[in-house]
């Protein structure tokens, strides 16, 4: 083959292009999207660099450590340097160029690239290299590092007003192609509605649009969508993929994390048309802005979206290193389209980002304040509480009322004529006492908690359960370790003298636990008594009072009284307990009436004698006692305190501790409890969100050898790659900050940011970016199909003040976007991927859009914006088989009511088991930044759309709308559905097809009405009662057919 080319090629190139040339170039069109068609001279960036980068740079590129024969081909100087008397490239002299000689060498030992690289230079590529050398072998900086220049619009006249179209038409003409006609109006409005809001247009919108014959009817419709609150939701969806947003930590336990306020901030930013430069700066460095607002701090959540771990045994330094690398790579890919990840381990073989430069970027993120271990908590600091004005006012009001009640307590206490038994003569006699801590309720003024997934449950005599005492008993069934916990008591339990703790337990004989345990909190959970298998409880130092074996399991099938002499578990008279827990391993356990017995000598009983109590707490901190009173109490009774303070302390004692007087405050206590409950409810509802900050003292950063966290090499300072414009510092401090980095990214002379952003927006609307590899603008990425258009838009975007809505308007109002997507055999064969855009985009809807569409057209949708993630329908056993036993996202708890019908953007995203309706349609798992989703077409998708309860219920709801609102005849009803779902009227064949289907279903369901009722009862919403069930069932399958249509599932 080489031989043949040698003979024929000169003729090819000297003459006019002949058939062979055209064939070669035609093939190249599809591998190198911008092609060579109509181009005269070789351009290094377009034609040569991709070949050298793929075949040669691994050994002859930037990476000095792996450079062979000291030859580099990525620079002109390197290529011309002489080695043993010859150079790789001698301009204009093919015969003297070693590159040419070596790639054509017959001897396998001579030939390049070497066989073990498995790289082969094709004949097409050889042709290009040959021409390049013959034409002088000029080099260019990689295209994306050259600043974009707004080229003059191509002169294509013909009344083309949108600049986008000028570029597209210009290229099409050079290819001998033309734009397609504009799509039909009903297609157009549906396309624009999905593109801009992620939802279909309503039939009313379509109707009005079809009637509007003004020349700018479409532009006006686009403007309405740009102003819709759903615009931000649709735009945010794409950004969430890039930012790797999710609702769990992602590693190990994969517990819930709270940062949905950041997601809502993204939605609001797009709705408010926040400038893209501000959008950038606030996310990367909002915390470093002067007096940052809550919004600006919320924005920094971008850099907290990465996966984190709290796996026991992990090494902090390793995790911190990983987080910083992830943040660096994500920033780099998101804003610069550079896959800096490779430079983690070695000099980037293809792109001019050295390992040292990567770690200079990394140095910006290596001082993050969040800990290595996320703690498996909802809020891993730093976080921000987002208190609204209204909530703050409510909280202030509750606090005022509470203060009032506390004052009232003091007044009421002052009126009590208290006589301290310690001062009574003769000394009162000791008596037996019993204090009950739990019977029907946990003690007041505390928090009750339970193992994740299984809430605390009381059973009652009224439901036929066995109860030992009172009305209710605590019940729990679990396969493993589980417990109910009562803690943070404001009124501690006091251990009397000679105390024995008791509890009543009922073990199920059919479902016997391996172990049961009682546990008490006194400055720590360090007092445990357990029955049964000692080994299965992992807590507490064995054979100490932290973990005491009380013997075998009690008898099952009846109530048994358990008793623990307190000394056995390390407690003594006067101890204040602020929590207890009942624990089991497996089985079913009922607990009831837990308390303590003992004796009380009034004169020395801290619950009766103020003096005795005060003596007891001397030198200790008293839980729940306000600071200044605590100091008094701690100083002891002999410290002769201020009289007023003493009285206040007594008042507190009488209210809180004294067994005789405490009941007098029951009424006021219950009022306080109500206030506290209201306060806690507000506080619980107030979201917090992860934010990003630096540690006060920046950490030193080093080049990490081979990307290993424990192999630091040279120290580096924050900085940027040399190939890019210099970093300007805001202040004259020597060290560059993240704010400097963020501002540098959006500085006017940065060659990448605007291009990368514009390209991603383009991808959003056309399915493929002008640069197809939207996450890779480096030398391994594809070249832009329309470089001039990309640059023109990038400059325009930047110079417009980074105006996102204006850019979006420009794109979606272009004739290019508005073209019919119909493929002819010519356009299909010529350009299957539609890179030349001789037709409009036809794209399968994204995962969220598919579900939202079904909800919307069926009328089920709940369009509420923002808030905590929700759990819609999900098949059983998606979370559970992968969940860690201790994870709080082990069990999926499906929501009910309106939350089921929220837009998919708000679906809770568990990273280790993402929502199947999302995964099935190519959504990423959000573990890493994703700049482009696949669009697959699988049978699993068909199964979901036919059988998922979500879609079946939507079909039924749509069928119901057809029956109630759609008219009286089948024809009218079908037309109604067609207008609702497809924004158009059905034709006669379509109607006939569905009517034929309907007849068969009707017949069958009239004969089998019980099947009909089973079908229409699926889903949580219920069908209207006045409808004939067999008819509704038959229409449900018709509606399901409509929801499964290819036309429905596509933005046509």
């Amino acid at each position: 083959m080489i031989f043949l080319l040698e003979r024929f090629l000169p003729a090819v190139f000297r003459g006019r292009p002949n058939l062979l040339f055209i064939l070669v170039v035609m093939s190249a069109v599809w591998t190198i999207p911008n092609g060579l068609f109509g181009q005269d001279s070789i351009q290094f960036n377009r034609d040569i660099r991709p070949i050298l980068a793929d075949k040669c740079f691994a050994c002859h590129g930037l990476d000095a450590a792996n450079r062979e024969a000291d030859l580099r081909l990525d620079t002109a100087e390197g290529s011309r340097e002489e080695h043993y008397g010859s150079a790789a490239v001698v301009p204009n002299d093919l015969e003297q160029s070693q590159l040419w000689i070596r790639i054509n060498a017959e001897d396998p030992d001579e030939r390049m690239p070497p066989a073990d690289s498995h790289k082969i230079i094709s004949e097409d590529e050889k042709l290009l290299l040959r021409r390049w050398i013959e034409e002088g072998a000029t080099y260019q900086k990689h295209w994306s590092f050259e600043p974009p220049v707004a080229v003059k619009l191509p002169d294509v006249s013909d009344g083309i007003s949108n600049p986008v179209d000028a570029f597209i038409v210009d290229r099409l003409r050079r290819e001998g192609l033309a734009m397609a006609n504009e799509a039909d109006k009903h297609i157009l409005i549906r396309r624009a509605a999905f593109a801009l809001t992620g939802l279909p247009p309503s039939p009313a919108e379509v109707h009005a649009f079809l009637l509007d014959n003004s020349p700018d009817a479409y532009e006006k419709q686009v403007d309405r969508y740009l102003e819709s609150a759903h615009f931000g939701e649709e735009m945010a969806r794409h950004w969430l993929d890039v930012a790797r947003y999710a609702d769990t930590h992602g590693l190990h336990l994969d517990n819930e994390r709270q940062m949905w306020a950041w997601r809502d901030w993204v939605v609001q930013s797009f709705n408010g048309n926040k400038r893209f430069d501000e959008f950038t700066v606030e996310q990367l460095a909002g915390d470093l802005l002067p007096e940052p607002t809550l919004d600006q701090l919320t924005a920094t959540g971008f850099n907290r979206c990465n996966v984190t771990s709290s796996e026991g045994g992990s090494i902090d330094a390793e995790l911190l290193y990983r987080y910083a690398v992830d943040r660096t790579s994500t920033m780099s890919q998101t804003w610069m389209g550079l896959t800096a990840g490779c430079a983690v381990c070695h000099d980037h073989k293809f792109d001019p980002v050295s390992q040292r430069e990567f770690y200079s970027l990394y140095a910006f993120f290596n001082s993050a304040a969040d800990p290595a271990m996320d703690g498996n908590t909802l809020l891993t600091e730093p976080s921000l509480k987002l208190v609204s004005q209204a909530d703050q006012e409510k909280l202030d009001d509750l606090a005022r009322q509470r203060t009032g009640l506390l004052e009232q307590i003091e007044i009421q206490a002052a009126q009590i004529a208290y006589v301290d038994p310690a001062g009574i003569q003769p000394r009162p006699e000791a008596v037996e006492v019993e204090t009950v801590w739990m019977d029907d309720e946990f003690p007041p003024g505390s928090q009750a908690k339970a193992s994740p997934g299984h809430p605390t449950t009381f059973v009652s005599v009224t439901d036929g359960s066995s109860v030992f005492s009172g009305e209710r008993a605590l019940k729990r069934t679990d396969a493993g370790l589980a417990q109910d916990v009562w803690e943070q008591a404001s009124t501690p339990l006091v251990v009397p003298a000679d105390a024995t703790i008791f509890a009543h337990v009922f073990l199920s004989a059919d479902s016997l636990p391996q172990t049961i345990m009682l546990q008490f909190y006194k400055n720590g959970w360090l007092h445990r008594a357990l029955w049964g298998d000692y080994g299965v409880i992992p807590w507490g130092a064995p054979n100490t009072t932290e973990k005491v074996s009380m013997g075998p399991m009690p008898e099952a099938g009846r109530w048994v009284r358990l008793e623990i002499p307190v000394g056995k578990i390390g407690l003594q008279a006067g101890d204040l307990l602020t929590g207890f827990a009942v624990t089991q391993f497996g089985g079913t356990v009922l607990w009831d009436k837990i308390g303590v017995t003992g004796t009380s000598d009034p004169a020395s009983d801290p619950q009766q004698s103020f003096q005795a109590w005060w003596k007891q707490v001397e030198g200790k901190d008293v839980p729940g006692l306000p600071g200044e009173l605590n100091a008094v109490a701690k100083a002891g009774p002999d410290s002769s305190p201020d009289e007023k303070m003493r009285d206040r302390l007594l008042a507190w004692y009488l209210h809180t501790v004294c067994s005789e007087t405490r009941p007098q405050f029951a009424e006021i206590d219950s009022q306080i409890t109500q206030l506290d409950t209201a306060r806690d409810a507000i506080n619980m509802a107030i979201p917090s969100t992860f934010i990003y900050r630096n540690v006060p003292q920046p950490r030193d950063s080093f080049v990490m050898m081979r990307g290993q966290y424990d192999k630091p090499g040279d120290k580096v300072e924050p900085g940027i790659p040399a190939i890019l414009p210099p970093l300007e510092l805001a202040s004259d401090t020597s060290r560059a900050t993240r704010l400097d980095l963020a501002r540098w990214l959006v500085s006017p002379d940065h060659p990448l940011t605007a291009r990368v952003a514009v390209n991603r927006f383009w991808q959003q609307f056309f399915g493929t970016g002008l640069v197809k590899t939207s996450g890779d603008f480096g030398t391994q990425g594809e070249l832009p199909s329309h470089p001039e258009l990309l640059d023109w838009m990038a400059v325009k975007f930047r110079d417009s003040g980074w105006d996102v809505k204006e850019l979006v308007r420009l794109i979606v109002t272009s004739g290019t976007f508005r073209q019919s997507s119909r493929m002819t055999s010519e356009t299909f064969t010529r350009d299957p991927e539609n890179r030349l855009l001789a037709r409009g985009p036809r794209l399968r809807l994204d995962a969220e859009q598919i579900r939202d569409n079904a909800l919307f057209v069926s009328g089920l949708i709940n369009l509420e914006i923002g808030g905590k993630g929700v759990n819609p329908y999900q098949p059983e056993n998606i979370w559970e088989p992968v969940g860690f036993a201790g994870s709080n996202t082990r069990f999926y708890k499906q929501d009910s009511g309106p939350a089921l019908y929220r837009r998919s953007l708000y679906t809770f995203y568990k990273r280790t088991a993402p929502p199947p309706f999302m995964m099935n349609f190519d959504a990423p798992n959000r573990e890493q930044s994703c700049t482009r989703r696949e669009r697959s077409n699988t049978p699993l998708q068909a199964l979901q759309l036919m059988n998922d309860v979500q879609h079946v219920e939507a079909a039924r709801a749509l069928a119901q709308r057809m029956l109630i609102d759609g008219g009286a005849t089948a024809d009218e009803r079908i037309a109604f559905a067609w207008r609702t779902v497809l924004s158009r009227e059905p034709d006669a064949i379509e109607t006939a097809t569905l009517k034929g289907q309907l007849e068969q279903h009707l017949d069958r369901y009239q004969k089998n009405p019980e099947d009909a009722s089973r079908l229409v009862m699926l889903g949580e919403s219920k069908p209207a009662e006045n409808l004939a069930v067999p008819e509704l069932a038959a229409w449900t399958l018709v509606a399901s057919t409509i929801l499964n249509l290819d036309e429905t599932l596509n933005r046509n």
């Binding site: 093939s27 090494i315 391994q780 064969t829 077409n937 979901q944 036919m946 059988n947 069932a1033």
Partner: protein, 492 residues
């Protein structure tokens, strides 16, 4: 009437499991294989395959057509199963010599321990089979009877010391989430022979409730950067075996046929209107879904299995969701031409109560693992099915927490652990590699996780160096960017 697009596609059908759009990796392979990658951007593929292989694959004649990968999640103790160290008895409760420990990285769960006392295995080891391989026969009585079928590798080592990264590493060749799993690679490269079932199927059976069950992650069978249609499909033990498989309540197979007939007619009109070949694919996918609704229940219906077979797998084999049931279904899948099956069994993380918990773990898996190998052999399928058994790392010779002769725990140990392979071109009755007397360091023939994966690919006819996918500027490989080697010694 056929449209132009249908005609084009008839001769060059797209992958039923998804739009093809073969990216650069595939394209490059196509070029290497000398096949056309031009025209419509899709390399020529076998026309009647739902899961066609990439052009040019396999690279050479495979010794295994399918793989069943038994992943024991948590880190099974090599010291208490396969790596027999009789000399340790005299070291009971003595600190591991510094010369052995060598200042290696420890997990922070034990790095704070003041002592590192040696815990010899409490179990009795015996030599088994004609090959005389040492094995803990107390816990692995059934496996001990198939040792002549296996290659035991005693020197597998990994980079990661914690579960999440180590699991991600053994399955995807990288500790960082985002890479493709081994099953996804195989589905991508080799496709599958079965047109009615997914190419890569995963089971996540139950595990003992009182064992220490670590989490597993969808990414362990995820496609990472590969198109998502190469994700493993989790066949579930409870609920529908395939998500959304059955028709809704009240909808019969006949109803579905009626609906699909209407749908197809209407979609043909869409095809006429828009001329998009994706519409053809969609029509075919709905038909495939309809077929799967029949083929999957057929797969999971084990009522025709013989008494003998059921006895061999043990009583659990009748219970959906158990390891034994999964193992039986794994054989049925491979029998139907499915390329890759993976069973991920949890609970092997014995930091404490090791002898007790390990007993439970083995009881759930030993009989069925051995039965699987025997069953495959009886049916003549073992010679082209590769069975792999192992976890993500090993465990330390020194005890974590309580240490008595009968009770101890062990921390994570990435420096050596045991895995075995059987069938599919692997030697039987062979032991590869040796560790020191404390099972703490490799002394002979280390096998990195990536070497092991390279070997697995090799058995399936793939040269791991030539099997790549362009992503983030790199030619991504299952076996990473470093040089890896196929372990030729274990190959028959």
């Amino acid at each position: 009437m056929r449209t132009i697009q249908e005609q084009i596609l008839a001769g060059n059908r797209r992958n039923f499991f998804g739009d093809v759009g073969v990216r650069l990796g595939g394209l490059a392979l196509g070029m290497l294989a000398g096949e056309s990658v031009f025209g419509n951007g899709v390399g020529a593929r076998p026309a009647d395959r739902v899961h066609p292989p990439l052009p040019g694959l396999p690279h050479f004649s495979p010794t295994a057509k399918s793989i069943i990968y038994l992943h024991m999640n948590g880190g099974p103790s090599q010291l208490d199963t396969w790596d027999y160290k009789p000399g340790l008895q005299e070291y009971f409760d003595k600190d591991i010599p510094a010369s052995i420990q060598g200042g290696q990285r420890l997990s922070t769960m034990t790095s704070g321990q003041s002592r590192f006392p040696v815990a010899p295995s409490k179990f009795k080891f015996e030599q088994s089979g004609e090959s005389g391989i040492w094995i803990n026969k107390e816990l692995l009585p059934f496996t001990s009877e198939i040792v002549d079928e296996i290659s035991l590798i005693k020197t597998v080592h990994t980079n990661a010391i914690n579960h999440d990264p180590a699991c991600t590493f053994v399955m995807t060749g990288s500790e960082i989430p985002g890479k493709a799993s081994i099953g996804s690679w195989l589905a991508y490269g080799l496709g599958s022979e079965n047109n009615d079932l997914p190419a890569f199927v995963v089971f996540t059976p139950q595990f003992p409730s009182d064992s220490n069950g670590q989490a597993i992650y969808n990414r362990m069978w995820g496609s990472g950067f590969l198109p998502t249609r190469f994700n493993g499909v989790a066949l579930r033990g409870s609920g529908d075996p395939v998500l959304y498989l059955p028709n809704p309540d009240g909808v019969s197979r006949t109803d579905r046929r009626v609906m699909l007939d209407a749908l197809e007619q209407l979609n043909h009109r869409t095809l006429e209107n828009f001329g998009d070949p994706e519409t053809v694919t969609r029509i075919a996918q709905y038909e495939m879904a309809f077929r799967m609704q029949a083929s999957v229940p057929d797969l999971t219906d084990i009522s025709q299995e013989t008494e003998e077979t059921m006895t061999m797998y043990g009583p659990d084999a009748k219970v959906p969701g158990t390891f034994a049931h999964s193992a039986l279904l794994a054989r049925r899948l491979v029998e139907r031409g499915v390329r890759a099956v993976q069973i991920l069994h949890r609970g092997w993380d014995q930091h404490g109560s090791l002898p007790y918990q390990l007993g439970n773990q083995c009881r759930q898996t030993d009989q069925a693992s051995a039965a699987l190998v025997r069953d495959l052999k009886q049916r003549g399928m073992l010679e082209n099915t590769l069975v792999v058994w192992g976890g993500e790392f090993g465990r330390t010779v020194y005890s974590q927490g309580t240490l008595t002769k009968d009770d101890y725990g062990r921390d994570h140990h990435p420096r050596n652990y045991c895995m075995w392979m059987a069938g599919g071109g692997v030697k039987g009755g062979y032991v590869h590699g040796e560790t020191d007397e404390f099972s703490y360091n490799v002394v002979e023939n280390p096998v990195h996780v990536n070497d092991l994966n390279a070997t697995i690919l090799h058995c399936l006819g793939i040269d791991h160096e030539r099997f790549s996918f362009k992503f983030q500027g790199l030619d991504q490989r299952l076996t990473g960017v470093e040089k890896q080697k196929v372990i030729h010694e274990v190959l028959a």
